[in-house]
């Protein structure tokens, strides 16, 4: 979930390509297809071949038994149920917040708005761990408010936790999409309605709401899509009894092996995702017929307005700060006895959990010190950056000014995003089973997920370079290589850094596919967190918190870097 969602931030970029779009002089028309060779070969081997294997497996008559279909239906129903509930809850928090940010000016407004967007970029394991750190059975609240004396609100059920984490993740979508629509609504429309005799409620009902409806539906659908394909949050917070499609696929691959059933489930998942995406695209295009930009925010004046602003500021701050801060807190405080620890237990501040990461304990769940997971993650991330840039650059050059054929190829490149990470992992297992013992499959799986983001980041930057610059350089005697080195590269430096950081961040946090294909002796940070969380004892739990904190800090740094490198006026979504 945490990975696939970011693309929507960039899909809007395509339209912004200026008048000067063109392929650089150093690619002749005839050699354009050379640009496509590498990315297409990669996609065919890493995505379409596994996809075809999955399809073949799932449409095998022996797979389509009534018991399999019944189970698939039950799982689908539950997936719909939790996604619908999550979406409704997200709207409940998101709509008033969107209104708050679109209409009111208050101190700390932009910081609070940025804060609500942070979870969106965080890896699922970090979000799951932080909710665990507060509400879980070993979390903060269990120690602060022991079960006997506190209400059940402070000890939510796993299912409630899942819903809360989904709200935490996706509220920013509602705030951005609906809030932007709301703030670009011409205030004169409402003034006109007022002067024509409409009271405030009827202004809202007859004018504001109908105009917001397309963006409201688009935003809700997007949230629904992310909740529908959510994996890490559900697995880590709920466990395997909450069998959504994703979780069930995972179970049928690793725990109760039945690959044909897993294949069937992932095909159902893919079909649903594609249908939702198509409907979303419809609504999203309709919601863009907007209106004059509003630049004025009002200060809360009446008591009612002040109350609204204050309550929502507090609510949002608490809801978004609490989970993010509880993670580092819990990683530095000992609240329970370590496993096997006897006698006097030292409670309070400790750095043991971090120190322990460097120790290779006998009987440890790893064969190596846990900190090696960080090294593995960084290694995989570095490899992902290199592979995805190598493949992304030629594709982005070709797509900067696409021919008709390339317009068809464009959605093909984006397709891996539509399929879930668990499905990608399943495809790798079915297709490349014999290579699973090597650690080299992981960066390729990560590249599959990161490539669309890399291309979408590079493409507008390449398109923004006027062709005349390159022509001027070559007329002044620069060879194609020198043109690239002296014109493209300096201009593309920022975009390249942003794309690289994207690939890096995605690889660091990738959970679903990695969980399926990674070797036990080469764990990544998210995998290590998952294993620590599933082990008893305060020490394991503390190490999970420590690892999650490390991952969170790495991701936050990456987010800051991406924001810094992105084209200054390339918009938000």
């Amino acid at each position: 979930m945490g990975i696939g969602k970011n693309v929507h931030k960039y899909t809007g970029r395509q339209e912004r390509i200026g008048l000067f779009t063109c392929v650089p002089v150093y690619f002749s028309t005839n050699s354009r297809f050379l640009l496509w060779v590498l990315p297409l070969i990669f996609l065919i081997i890493a995505f379409f071949y596994p996809l075809s294997r999955i399809l073949a497996l799932s449409f095998d008559p022996s797979t389509l038994t009534s018991s399999n279909l019944l189970l698939a239906f039950r799982v689908l129903l539950f997936t719909f149920y939790q996604a619908t509930l999550s979406t409704l809850l997200t709207l409940l928090l998101g709509l008033p917040s969107a209104y708050l940010f679109a209409r009111y000016d208050f101190r700390g407004r932009s910081i609070l708005r940025a804060l609500t967007a942070v979870p969106f970029m965080l890896p699922t394991v970090v979000v799951a761990s932080s909710f665990n750190a507060i509400f879980g059975t070993r979390g903060l609240f269990s120690f602060l408010f022991p079960l006997s004396q506190a209400s059940s609100i402070l000890h939510p059920s796993p299912f409630t936790l899942i819903l809360l984490a989904h709200v935490f993740y996706n509220t920013t979508i509602i705030i951005r999409i609906v809030g932007n629509a709301l703030s670009s609504l011409d205030p004169k429309l409402e003034q006109a309605a007022r002067s024509l005799g409409a009271d405030p409620f009827r202004v809202w009902w007859n004018v504001t709401f109908p105009l917001l409806r397309p963006s409201l539906f688009a935003a809700s659908l997007l949230v629904f899509l992310f909740d529908f394909t959510s994996f890490g949050v559900i697995l880590l917070l709920g466990g395997s009894q909450f069998a959504t499609l994703e979780v069930e696929i995972y179970l049928r691959v690793l725990k109760l092996p039945n690959l044909p059933l897993a294949a069937l489930l992932s095909v159902i998942q893919l079909i649903c995702t594609i249908i939702f995406s198509i409907i979303y695209t419809r609504f999203a295009s309709r919601s863009t017929i907007q209106l004059a930009p509003r630049s004025t925010f009002i200060k809360a004046k009446t008591t009612k307005q002040k109350l609204f602003v204050t309550i929502f500021c507090l609510l949002l701050s608490a809801f978004f700060i609490l989970p993010l801060s509880s993670l580092p807190f819990r990683s530095l405080f000992r609240l329970e006895a370590d496993r096997g620890q006897r006698g006097e237990v030292q409670y309070g501040v400790t750095t043991d959990y971090y120190k322990e990461l460097f120790v290779n304990r006998r009987g440890s769940i790893f064969y190596v010190p846990p900190i090696r997971a960080t090294a593995n993650s960084l290694g995989y991330a570095g490899a992902t950056v290199i592979i995805s840039l190598l493949l992304g650059f030629p594709a982005a050059f070709a797509l900067a000014k696409p021919t008709r054929l390339e317009r068809i190829l464009d959605p093909l490149i984006m397709l891996p995003l539509g399929s879930s990470a668990v499905m990608l992992g399943l495809g790798f297992i079915i297709s490349f089973g014999k290579w699973l013992t090597s650690p080299f499959l992981v960066p390729f799986a990560h590249t599959l997920v990161a490539l669309p983001f890399v291309i979408r980041t590079l493409q507008p930057a390449i398109a923004s370079i006027p062709q005349c610059l390159r022509q001027a350089a070559s007329s002044l005697g620069a060879s194609p290589w020198e043109v690239w080195k002296n014109i493209d590269l300096p201009i593309l430096r920022r975009a390249t850094l942003a794309a690289a950081t994207f690939a890096f961040t995605i690889s660091l946090g990738e959970f679903g596919a990695t969980l399926l294909i990674s070797r036990p002796e080469y764990p990544t940070i998210p995998i290590a967190i998952e294993r620590f969380l599933s082990q008893p004892g305060g020490l394991n739990y503390g190490q999970a918190m420590a690892m999650a904190t490390i991952l969170m800090v790495l991701t936050l740094i990456s987010i800051l870097l991406i924001e810094k490198f992105r084209l200054p006026n390339s918009g938000e979504f």
Binding site: Q191, S195, L196, A198, L291
Partner: protein, 343 residues
């Protein structure tokens, strides 16, 4: 009818409206003329109840409107960018105010048809408003405001987004509609031609205040200040020093002028030399005499522009005049002008 009393308003700490008071009577069209940013639109929104004044009050038929929310004031408002509801068609836009008043359906259809008829848009009812031209959209906005038969109509730069010919046509239609319906109206614009065409009375807004108020003819003939003369483009404004016996010494020569205000010797005064009230003086062979002659300006012609029935002549000293015959560029001429004293 409408009485605006001592309205004060500041915007981000700076004064925007400073003690604005005026009245609008039944059937009267009052035009607020001022540069953009002079607070005209804010004043309209205050009257409509969409914004609060810092102090002052709005009265209608002697009743204070301060506690009345905008939707109960029954004032029609027409915006520069039309503010049509994009999700409704033409009929639904015009019917909006009537629906808000919960009129019966047949009454609504009848009034919508009447209003569309009045703005020459009969038959446009089922068109989407986003597909209409600018002029058509503004007619729909006008019909929408007229359909509710408001007690007062307010126009905020209604023709600002339209091209010139369309603007003239619509302006004339608007004039006749306002006369027909007898609804009092406030018309805000920065375009003086529009103002002089539509207004029964003009208020000129400058420096947060109303600095001149009167009928179009009165304001035109007696601008009263160099700002108004300059803003309306009435002619050349010449600064000078008051001598005695209604004589003013300027860098262009000495002028004899009748001043309504008392001036004492040495006062700075501004003179208005309208380009239309001028004629060429036969140049005397004897240059000595013309120096003592008052109200004659001499200069070398730098530009001659043909305009319908006259020529616009610009001299090397920056002044311009309308003359019936065209001199040659480079020719030295003398122009006898009439000057007025601007306070």
């Amino acid at each position: 009818m409408l009485e605006v009393q001592h309205i004060f308003k500041t915007y981000e700490g700076k004064p925007l409206l400073n003690d604005i008071s005026f009245k609008v009577d039944l059937g009267e069209t009052v035009c607020l003329l001022g540069a953009s940013g002079s607070g005209k639109s804010t004043l309209l929104r205050i009257i409509a109840g969409l914004e609060d004044a810092d102090s002052g009050s709005i009265l209608f038929n002697r009743a204070d409107l301060t506690p009345t929310p905008p939707h109960l004031r029954d004032f029609g408002l027409v915006f520069q960018d039309y503010a049509l509801f994009p999700h409704l068609d033409v009929n639904e836009n015009v019917a909006f105010g009537l629906k808000m008043r919960r009129l019966p359906q047949d009454e609504i259809s009848r009034r919508v048809a009447d209003a569309l008829e009045m703005v020459n848009l009969a038959g446009f009812g089922h068109r989407r408003v986003t597909g209409l031209s600018g002029g058509e959209q503004q007619r729909v906005a006008l019909a929408r405001a007229l359909a509710t038969r408001p007690r007062l109509l307010m126009f905020d730069e209604p023709l600002g987004a339209l091209d010139r010919t369309l603007r003239e046509d619509l302006l004339n239609e608007l004039r006749s509609i306002l006369h027909q319906t007898n609804i009092p109206a406030i018309y805000v614009t920065h375009d003086q031609e529009e103002a002089f065409t539509i207004a029964d009375r003009i208020l000129i807004l400058h420096d947060c205040r109303i600095i001149r108020e009167g009928t179009p003819a009165d304001v035109w003939e007696n601008p009263g200040s160099s700002f108004v003369s300059g803003f309306l483009g009435l002619g050349n404004i010449i600064g000078g020093i008051y001598l005695d016996a209604s004589q003013v010494e300027t860098k262009f020569g000495r002028f004899s002028v009748h001043c309504e205000h008392e001036h004492s010797k040495g006062d700075n005064v501004a003179l208005l030399a309208r380009p239309r009230d001028s004629r060429t003086e036969r140049s005397e062979p004897n240059g000595e005499r013309s120096r003592s002659v008052v109200n004659v300006i001499s200069g070398v012609v730098t530009d001659v522009i043909f305009q319908p029935e006259r020529f616009r002549i610009t001299l090397d000293n920056g002044l311009y005049f309308y003359l019936p015959n065209a001199p040659k560029v480079g020719e030295k001429i003398e122009v006898r002008v009439k000057v007025e004293c601007l306070a």
